[in-house]
Amino acid sequence: MALNISRHQKGARHSNRAPVPPFRSLRDSRNRPQTAQRVPRSVHGVRDTAASRVVVQMLKPSPPESERGRTSFHVFTERFLRNRRGVELEPEERAYLERAISEVKSVEQRTTLVRTGERLSNSTLLLEGFLCRYIDDRRGLRQLVAIHIPGDFVDLHGYPLGTLDHDVAALTAASVAMVPHAALDRIAVEKPSLTKKLWFATLLDAAMHRAWVFRLGRLDAVGRVAHFLSETNVRLSTVGLSDGRRFALDITQNDLSEVCGLTSVHINRVMRQLREEGLCVFRSSLVEILDPSRLAERGQFDPDYLYIRNDPLPVSPR
């Protein structure tokens, strides 16, 4: 089958897309609930899942024998665990993980990929775009509990857990690679060192969750946004999607408010403050950090918990 990869623009921006309506809650009864849809994958004889709106654009072919193990074919896993302190995927491990991918598909923005309590049989490797994990309160108001960038294994923890205690959704249009849990079973048996590295990836998520708790619990409004943008800058720099000062972040002000536990009114004021203080500008889905060190200091951000091997930033905030 011909490989038809539709590469998104940096940050998965679509210049001709319609304005994104306020993304208050996917469960808000005032908005039509949106769910990811999958079309039948009859080519692989895979049983259909529940109806959804994700369109399968391509299926990853198995690499020819001559290509197996070559790093040049590792197009899907190349960003996974890149430049992390304490872990490095060997070419053979990366090739093994590539072969474990059963399909690659595109996801429309604002669609739900996984719902709380849904029985899982795959884990999702994010290739392009931004995904989020979130929990809604009883009123349907959302708290984002994680943002995922290209290279993240979004729900790897769903493999041992079987179900998730939160939802996973696409903040932007995205491309994802699916790794069946059956393949992860084989990895666990045949590749213990790779298994340990997959475990490392879930622990990185846990480290970011701890930082998230700190951000929401101890920082004021400006600090929360400064911390989040500093963290996102470092994460995106690690996978080559930030030059250390500028990166595309195609999320709405409402999304940012749900990350930081603030209202959009408050976010608006905070962004103005950050701009006036010469720290950061966030405009038209582009973040420009004017002073990375001062922004990190304002957000009490220390990138140590991201376990970066080689500091990708021009100025190291400490």
Binding site: L216, A221, L262, V265, H266, R269
Partner: protein, 61 residues
Amino acid sequence: MLEDAPAVQPETQAGVATAEGGYVILDGPDGVAVTMTPEAASLTAERLLAAASAAERQKTL
């Protein structure tokens, strides 16, 4: 050690309340970050004043 960490103390710094786009934003103290309608802010202010007066009386008991 955990025992050496300072316990969370009552705030001695006042929060800053400002008006923004028809809402009241309360920044601080510390990690407080709240946006309220003017009505909710007024009622909160009344309750805060009443509680502050009661707390003052408790201090003198």
